[in-house]
Symmetry: C2
Subunit: 426 residues, 2 copies
């Protein structure tokens, strides 16, 4: 069960905020071999891995039109309505706060501006297996569509008959995606990076995955293919004050813990009584869960920490930089103002993480492992890049000439100075 | 000299847009050893490399206060004025178009918003050597200051007496940076990544460098330290129509070529006469340059390509995705509207690349090697990350409940559903 730690000294926080070291070392050699094989042998190699790893031996690596059409009939209307409802909220939130482009005249005759343009070729990796992550199709596909990316496609592992879960297909259709490729694991990431195995080349690759997928994303990103963000086990930090409902908090801790045995769960309290109440409720609820075994393992690495006051909990949380932060506190709005490091923050007793995981509108692809210190969750901006422009008049260039010539010559770059001189002498 | 290629078939474009393969393979082993040494041995290892590689054996790895004070007196006022002028324009452009945060009620009782926050710890790598890149100090330091990053510091290699170029110090002061650390190469990158060698830990590392620096940035980024963008040799693509001035174009090609023997220079024309005139002018100007030898080598890998019309030149350029694009065309404004892939675009005869390299206001840290398809140049956003927030009322949660429960159960995540159930049953 979760460790309970009372009033740890600040010097020990550095240990308490540590995540278990992600271990992808043991798959790196295998992943390197797979990626190199795809790079050299394209389609032939991909078919080989589809057969060995997913038992699929079909000729085509593209999901057929028939599967697209059939998906609707295979899902009950309750799930379809749920997917559509979530999609509406995601679209509404992600469409707001868009970048507005303005021209800036930095000095007379020197006009500079910036333009946001969609990334054209976007590959989304969606894991297969027992839990079909169709919610991730919405979280990645909808912002890509708002951005205006031309060519958005999915790679997901097929089963032995070349089929995939119809909910993934349905969510893809909602997000306007018409191309699904049947490939999983490191081989799918490599195929998207090189575009040589019957799958289009992606300028940027998004999506979660197991250690093979993570290692392959790291590997191809070192050669310049953009990826969404570095991956790590999912995590939540809950700050629970005296008004927190122990049962609500316990359910939030468990919804993180059920993700995987390597999930991180941290709860910060300001009294021993509340901490113990939360621990008791966690045990009670745990016994009701189908994924009890996974959650139990995750809880073993997890901690309830009692600190002196709410300011200290905020300080701890900012050092930890959690992927998800739940403020189960009466004064959540004011506390939220003090948050400087987090992926996504949930305020008050009625904002559970699972609302944001599926349907409130915010994105659920978020920086884990302390990466929130430098990375943002996925947004429309993740599917765009900026181009800067400038136009100088002759007068504008005259006004910059001495500055540019002086700096260029001081940096030893005489041709840079020459490019100004030939123009102003003209 | 530059190859001249007339009307190549479209099938051959894929070869023409290829960059020479960056070769950092041969330094990877050495870099891995250095990075591991710094990780394990911190300050002791850093001092060893400072001595072996830069001849510096001082005790302190931090630039002393005296060097900060002396820098002003060591520079002539013309250069100081130039640096201040450039800084003003960079600040003006980079302060514009800032993100505005708005709350969005995605449905009744479900309020979501996004907040931009500065990345706190920012390390800037500035190469040393013969050409002191003080302009890069402005290009990285000013946006970091606008973003509000708390702890911005520079790493740059010292000379044997522990000194660095005063122009770097002066530019740092202009950008509000007060901490300069004496370390270069892969060891500096590792020290910033681990924060264990008398140099603070950086959440994100920015800046150019040689192959050792590039390999070290790749290596530490795979373990989650953010970096500005993948590196590659600098490049320019010029589109020259019948109104282009061959002398101006030649000076632009040369200011790219002088950067390094691996620089890429491409010129697209729509007539043989113009192409030949540009080639002739390039040879004439080349002979006047101190860095003639470097530029000559770069030009050997470079190409003047004649295409059928301006639309084809734009199509080619968008496929190439150049770091710098100069539209030396009468109709530059209209052509610029068709650009979908580039780092920074310069319009017309009086907008040379060197204006943007130093002082027009736009940033000069830009994506090379076709990375403009997915990456943007440095801006204030590069020094910030976004946090999303959400607050649901009980009514808001009720309105989402069925959707979240249905989706969570379909994904096999029952605790996610439970977190909603315990709240609505309450």
């Amino acid at each position: 069960m979760m460790q309970l730690i009372e009033n740890p000294k600040k010097e020990t926080w550095i240990e308490l905020i540590k995540r278990p070291e992600a271990d992808i070392k043991d798959v790196e050699v295998a992943v390197h071999a797979i990626v190199t094989d795809i790079k050299r042998n394209g389609t032939v190699a991909l078919k080989k891995y589809n057969l060995i790893l997913d038992g699929y031996q079909g000729e085509s690596v593209m999901l057929d039109e028939k599967s697209f059409q059939e998906a609707d009939g295979l899902l009950d209307s309750k799930l379809k309505n749920a997917i559509e409802h979530a999609a509406r909220n995601i679209e509404k939130f992600h469409s707001a706060n868009r970048f507005k482009n303005e021209k800036v005249e930095t000095q007379k005759g020197v006009v500079c501006w910036k333009k946001q343009m969609p990334i054209e070729n976007v590959g989304l990796y969606i894991p297969g297996g027992t839990a079909p992550l169709f919610s991730t199709v919405l979280m990645l596909g909808i912002p890509a569509q708002i951005a205006g990316s031309k060519n958005v496609f999915i790679c997901t592992p097929p089963n032995a008959s070349g089929k995939i879960n119809p909910a993934i297909i349905y969510a893809a259709k909602i997000a306007g995606i018409t191309k699904i490729y049947l490939a999983g694991g490191a081989q799918a990431i490599a195929a998207m990076a090189f575009g040589n195995a019957g799958i289009p080349r992606a300028d940027k690759i998004f999506g979660p995955g197991n250690r093979f997928v993570t290692a392959a994303k790291n590997l191809v990103s070192a050669s310049g293919v953009a990826i969404d963000m570095p991956a790590g086990p999912s995590e939540v930090l809950v700050i629970a004050d005296e008004h927190a409902n122990p049962r609500f908090v316990a359910s939030d801790l468990l919804s993180q813990a059920e993700h995987g045995s390597d999930s991180q769960v941290i709860c910060l309290c300001i009294s021993t009584e509340k901490a113990e109440a939360i621990q008791t409720e966690t045990i009670t609820l745990l016994n009701k869960l189908p994924r009890k075994e996974i959650a139990t393992k995750a809880l073993e690495n997890s901690r309830i920490i009692i600190l002196n006051n709410l300011d200290e909990t905020i300080e701890f949380s900012n050092q930890y930089a959690p992927e998800h932060l739940i403020l189960a506190c009466a004064d959540a709005e004011n506390l939220a103002e003090k948050i400087t490091q987090a992926g996504s923050v949930f305020l008050g007793n009625y904002s559970p993480e699972s609302a944001g995981d599926y349907a409130s509108g915010t994105n659920h692809t978020l920086p884990t492992n302390g990466f929130a210190k430098a990375y943002s969750g996925v947004s429309v901006d993740s599917f765009m890049k900026n181009i800067t422009f400038q136009k100088l008049t002759k007068e504008g260039l005259n006004g910059l000439a001495e500055t540019v010539i002086t700096m260029a010559e001081a940096e030893g770059l005489d041709a840079h100075a020459l490019a100004i001189k030939v123009r102003i002498e003209n």
